[in-house]
Subunit: 503 residues, 2 copies
């Protein structure tokens, strides 16, 4: 134990990772304890802190005009609050026995040890990058970090003309009525590409959230977009019958959707840059390739230190986000596993909203307070142009895997009263447990007003409600907001009738 | 008891009132029992069945192009399902002892008795119309029924030019970017009134849901609008501090808002038509007056029959919507009181969404099944142009009245991530009980994306969640849908910190 921090504080907190979870923890700890009581040192191997990775697709698309808007709090702001933030400094070892970490200056290579009284591990996740030929070719991009986003934008400006080729009015307005229409390929081509020039071709590998959001971004940038997807349908976080609706809608936007395709390599051209994506026997020409395959917990350091990891490779914590068995070590964000309240099992759910909650809870604990993270129900929402996609709880295969039997129903309804202008169709799928009628999961695919309806189900799942209870929920109703029976209630009625015909 | 219906059915159901609750009950009962088992006779004193009263403001505004779109199911459709529907026929007496009702043909005045085995009372609500001079003058309109709506539209066509003066494109499009801007009076005047003609002047009496929705409708019709309101601020279903935000926004739209004003009479012109609204010493010139003062349960028949009424004048039922103490009599919709699950007291909440639920539950009971209505939490949502207003649970004064002590917090946030285009501000007020931290109520005033967020709180209230539990909810997050901390979570964090500083 250190009797005092180098700058005179009685205790020292070391934070590994300067993004959402780590810096939220540092900030919350600082709120509770001043610099005399607690010294805080935070190590971040990248150039930036506290940025919104979820915002990168909208920066690439041009909806968000510049990078700095994605930074919730700059390094300078953290330092102004007496957080000793060390950018471009990578922690290479955790020495639990002696309570210290070894850090390396990324640029100079110099290494040194820093001791801690309390440690927060917020090392995040690393993108899955299969080891395939051509993976490192120019024009192949991940979209995990702000540096990734900038590199992609640089490629776009080379392959398709300057970034500013997107007319400014398309960047600043979201409610452009044009966007409510499916964007056919002809229109995309015609819109901002001169006839003298072939439109750029983008291949997005992966059709999860990042993949579909990047497909939108590339469409908005005027590219012809192909999405190459290993699964049966896009959005594997949905059941395939709901994923099919996403595929059909994306095809309606002029996006080429390729399912059941395992990428086998990236082909390069004479200049060494990417030329095509190979999947089995097929080749998909590409001026730029975006990798949106997903992420895994970044826990190599924790593993080397002997900290407990779960079956998904994430750190295991208790309810207060302390690493199990380690009183003075916390972990949060994309590097931990969380309890799924519906299945009762551990999951890895890399989402900024959880990372921020974890940070708050860790900061409270470090600061001597009390807060807990009960777990997740698996809520996620996304969009592709005007298509909204949401899910919470278990898919059919999740339920089966944990031994739950269920009824599944699917209904069609509208976002507003049917007679109200712009009432848009939505499909709601709902799973309910046999016998108990307990809600197990909801999936929604629709247009404006569809996505955030999943929150109704998220709260109901958290509360352990049955579908019968959901049918009676007192939800907000007025013609511009909902049909007189909200679509979630319609699904619940159908599910309740299947569980127990009641009559 | 009738051994058989006139048409040979073994039992007869009589329904009084052919709107949402009554006809939902009839339809659901028919679904469960065929015409051989159950004869169904439904009496409706008006011209229409199963219409959306909530849709009338949008028909008057021109958003809904014609009346028939507000009719969910026509008389012919009901009759095709073997429901003996008698329009323009008013029930004038319920004879509980002999199990019969007396009905009068509104046009001919002819009366006759119809016996029943099972009775459903769905007589709805009647608008409050204070007995003031000039109340029956031409140009003074309620907006309860489709006939009311048509009469108002007829007046509008006289006082302001034909209904078609609203350009068709303004009727069919909701996402007109213009509407996202406050509509100043100058623009309203300039839009569809020639310079040679004074714009019509509308006074809306009352500033509850109907009042503010009608203010929007009259603005869209090109009128100069004054809202005369008895209360301290508009939207008395909100606390005054939140009502003030509504007033300010409506003033920003060019609506003249008059608070603390009791209407003392309506002044008429030489032609006998309304000329102005008098409130105390002030006069507000009016070519048309819309009454949006609210409604009371229509329970004169039930009172005369000796059925149990509550303190708000509504019928009292059990959980299965049976009238208390009467095995074969059900009641639902705007004529009943409902249990407020938050306060534990009875309330009168005239909303189509409850009426439809009641109808389903009654129909199940009549058909020999089982379903119950647990109660309400008091959710309501409305809009005025692009301003969205929502509430659920208790206001400060409600909580005080039932002896609950609480902390109240108010926060400002945005509908989307702050950096995402069209992130719009919203204000969320939250009440939480002292000591337990139980959520008591939420009020939201904002722009697009604000209103339906109240559903999160509605479900949490139903589940009896504490604000601490709400802080951990796994809600849908992505930059186009929400900040990383949803505004409801931000309010819950602030409330939780006030309830128990935890740290």
């Amino acid at each position: 134990m250190n009797m005092s921090d180098a700058r005179g504080a009685r205790e020292r907190l070391v934070v590994i990772g300067g993004d959402a979870a780590g810096m939220s923890a540092a900030s919350q700890a600082r709120r509770l304890k001043g610099p005399d009581e607690l010294g805080i040192v935070a190590f971040e191997r990248g150039h930036f802190t506290s940025f919104s990775a979820c915002g990168i697709p909208y920066w690439v698309s041009g909806d968000v005009p510049d990078r700095d808007r994605l930074i919730a709090r700059t390094a300078e702001e953290h330092r102004a609050r007496d957080i000793d933030l060390r950018l471009r400094t990578e922690v290479t070892e955790i020495d639990l026995d002696r309570g210290r970490v070894r850090a390396r200056d990324v640029d100079s290579g110099a290494e040194s040890w820093t001791s801690y009284d309390k440690l927060v591990i917020a090392t995040g996740a690393r993108p899955i990058r299969p080891e395939l030929p051509g993976m490192d070719a120019p024009g192949v991009h991940g979209v995990q970090t702000l540096d990734d986003g900038q590199a992609l934008l640089d490629t776009l400006s080379r392959t398709r003309g300057p970034i500013d080729s997107v007319p400014p009015e398309r960047r600043s307005r979201r409610r452009d009525p044009d966007r409510a229409q499916p964007l056919g390929p002809a229109r995309v081509r015609g819109r901002d590409t001169g006839a003298h020039r072939r439109p750029g071709r983008a291949v997005v590998v992966g059709a999860g959230y990042i993949g579909v959001e990047m497909a939108e971004a590339m469409i908005k940038r005027g590219y012809e977009v192909t999405v190459v997807n290993r699964g049966e349908e896009p959005m594997a976080t949905l059941d395939p019958d709901m994923g099919r609706l996403v595929r059909e809608a994306m095809e309606g936007m002029g996006i080429t959707m390729v399912n059941d395709a395992e990428v086998t390599g990236l082909l390069t051209g004479g200049d060494g840059g990417v030329r095509a994506v190979a999947a089995g026997d097929a080749e998909y020409p590409a001026d730029v390739v975006v990798l949106g395959i997903g992420v895994r917990p970044e826990t190599a350091l924790a593993r080397a230190a002997g900290l407990p990891l779960g079956e998904h490779g994430g750190l295991l914590t208790d309810r207060s986000m302390r690493v199990r068995g380690h009183e003075n070590v916390w972990a949060g964000g994309d590097c931990v596993e969380v309890l799924d309240l519906v299945s009762g099992q551990q999951r890895h759910v890399p989402l900024g909203t959880h990372a921020n909650k974890h940070g708050q809870i860790i900061g409270a604990g470090v600061g001597g307070g009390y807060a807990t993270f009960p777990g997740v129900v698996g809520t996620a929402v996304s969009k592709v142009c005007d298509l909204e996609i949401a899910r919470t709880g278990l898919r059919e295969k999740d339920a089966r895997r944990v031994g739950l039997r269920f009824e599944a129903v699917t209904i069609e309804s509208t976002s507003r009263a049917g007679y109200y202008p712009d009432a848009s169709p939505m499909t709601v799928k709902m799973l309910a447990e046999l016998r108990t009628g307990r809600l197990l999961g909801v999936q929604i695919v629709g247009r404006e007003g569809a996505g955030k309806r999943v929150d109704i189900a998220a709260v109901a799942l958290t509360a352990g409600m049955t579908v019968e209870q959901i049918t009676a929920l007192d939800l907000g109703y007025a013609p511009p907001f909902s049909p007189v029976w909200d679509p979630v209630l319609v699904a619940a009625r159908k599910a309740a009738a299947k569980i127990g015909p009641a009559l």
